[in-house]
């Protein structure tokens, strides 16, 4: 399978790393030969029909910051879309940064791939949160596979889990901690009694929160995931604007103290149900499945046959997120055979 990776940030590099780590095993186990034929970043691309060396790609990116510096096969000043038009590939891995304004350029990349009859695997929440039904319809009309497990909860299995493992169950709602950064901050505040600003600062120093933390702390990232879960698992037709969002920046140590006194923790919870599409700070019982600390993500699916099923996992991280992309690539391959 010829793979084209658009975007070579943390997730794209994670994909290259897991391909390098797992290539032989995947070939042996599934008969799938993963070949990287093109990788792009904001500066250009590395393109080779014979296949690129993932380790050399990672090394080149680390040393120069540009995939276009890849020996012999580097091309500078070429866009992702141009590469997609010129290179022969089977599966697009779209891992450019999430853009919640208009979903671009990922939306254009994904639609172009569909129209060219290519399968797509993505972790990009922007186009999914804004144009879900358009993307699904386009994938269907071109009879291609579209997988996006990595877009919700990183390594935590949820979409494929709901569709495949829980196939046959009606899923009535999903409640979850869908953002690792806010979970880290709230967990630290509960443990240390520290203020929000102080804890955010600490998270930024540890590299857990970004310099501009708005997407995480204002609940935007979690809201994108709520939209994806609602569309994909509950079969709704909703978009980002349908989610009621409250972030964590107003949470105070006083509130955490009162909650704790009553045996509760405060967590930023995404609710996907027929009553609400919501991201808000909520009280969860200490000792309940939602009482996970650190940057973990967790989700409880309420089903008719199996009752409550809860999944927990790393919600972010380069290789962790790439693990979900790898499993999507394998499942695209299986369905193609």
């Amino acid at each position: 399978m010829r793979i084209c990776i658009i975007g070579f940030g943390a997730v794209g590099q994670g994909v290259a790393r897991v391909i390098s780590m797992k290539r032989d095993k995947v070939r042996e186990k599934y008969g799938l030969d993963m070949e990287l034929v093109a990788v792009t970043d904001s500066t250009g691309a590395a393109v080779s029909e014979e296949g690129l060396d993932p380790d050399l790609l990672l090394e080149t990116k680390k040393k120069t910051g540009k995939v276009s510096e890849y020996p012999e096969h580097g091309v500078s000043d070429i866009s992702g879309l141009e590469v997609m038009n010129e290179v022969e590939y089977d599966c697009l891995v779209e891992v450019t940064p999430t853009n919640i304004e208009d979903g671009e350029p990922a939306r254009t990349h994904i639609l172009a791939a569909f129209r060219a009859g290519k399968d797509v695997v993505t972790s990009n929440k922007g186009p999914l949160a804004l144009s879900y039904s358009e993307l699904i319809a386009e994938a269907e009309s071109n009879s291609v596979q579209f997988k996006f497990e990595a877009s919700v909860g990183g390594a935590m299995p949820i979409l494929n889990f709901a569709h495949e493992t829980l196939a046959g169950c009606d899923i009535n709602s999903v409640f979850g901690i869908l953002n690792g950064t806010t979970n880290f901050i709230l967990s630290r505040m509960a443990k240390e009694g520290s203020s929000y600003e102080q804890t955010l600062n600490e998270a930024q120093q540890l590299g857990i929160a970004e310099t501009n933390p708005a997407q995480d702390v204002d609940g935007i990232d979690a809201a994108c995931k709520v939209v994806i879960l609602a569309n994909s698992i509950l079969g709704r037709d909703v978009s980002f604007k349908d989610v009621e969002i409250n972030g964590i920046s107003k949470i105070t140590p006083e509130a955490i103290y009162l909650a704790k006194k009553e045996g509760y923790l405060i967590k930023l919870i995404g609710e996907v149900s027929n009553e609400a599409l919501e991201v808000s700070p909520r009280l969860v019982r200490e000792g309940s499945p939602f009482a996970v600390g650190g940057t973990l993500n967790v989700a409880t699916l309420k089903t008719d046959l199996a009752e409550d099923v809860t999944v927990v996992g790393k919600g972010a991280g380069s290789v962790e997120t790439a693990s979900a992309i790898l499993s999507d690539i394998i499942s695209v391959w299986k369905s193609r055979r």
Partner: protein, 162 residues
């Protein structure tokens, strides 16, 4: 007739005796009492299963008398009677706001404010209050909706249970 009750008692000496007192006093009989001190609810209270026997009027009087004594009757013959709803509000809770909030909540039929706790901050807008509401079973959705409304009209950040 017989009726099975689940009471919720504080883990304090004498509470069980106090809860059972109206039964004999009003002429009903105790058929069984299951009281395990090491089994606690998530609220830290002890659930006590009591089966009592008597005529209908007597049993009704017993239930009423227990409620008057402030004893929590959570279930009657397997049917939930009450649920507790805990909410934390963040915001500048001046006296008036608080009173109004309590009045609105208590104004809902079958709902009463059972507990209130405040934690003031040096920055008034960061102060928090915890309200525990006791509601007839099935009222939870209404109560949560009302609390949200209060929050948005008074500018509180509302933190409800999951």
């Amino acid at each position: 007739m017989r009726v099975n009750l689940v009471l919720e008692l504080l883990d304090v000496p004498g509470k069980l005796l106090e809860a059972l007192e109206p039964i004999g006093k009003l002429g009903a009989n105790i058929v069984a009492v299951i009281h395990q001190r090491d089994v606690k609810t998530e609220r830290g209270t002890i659930p006590v299963h009591v089966t009592i026997e008597g005529d209908k009027e007597t049993l009704e009087m017993v239930l009423k008398s227990m409620e008057d004594l402030g004893i929590q009757i959570m279930e009657v013959d397997g049917v939930m009677r009450k649920e507790k709803i805990t909410t934390v509000l963040i915001g500048n809770i001046v006296e008036k706001n608080l009173k109004e909030t309590m009045e609105i909540l208590s104004g809902i039929e079958g709902v009463k404010v059972a507990d209130l706790d405040l934690k003031m901050s040096d920055h008034p807008e960061q102060s928090a209050s915890k309200i525990i509401v006791e509601a007839d079973y099935g009222k939870k959705r209404d109560v949560l909706k009302k609390i949200k409304e209060i929050g948005s009209s008074k500018g509180f950040l509302v933190i409800n249970e999951v």
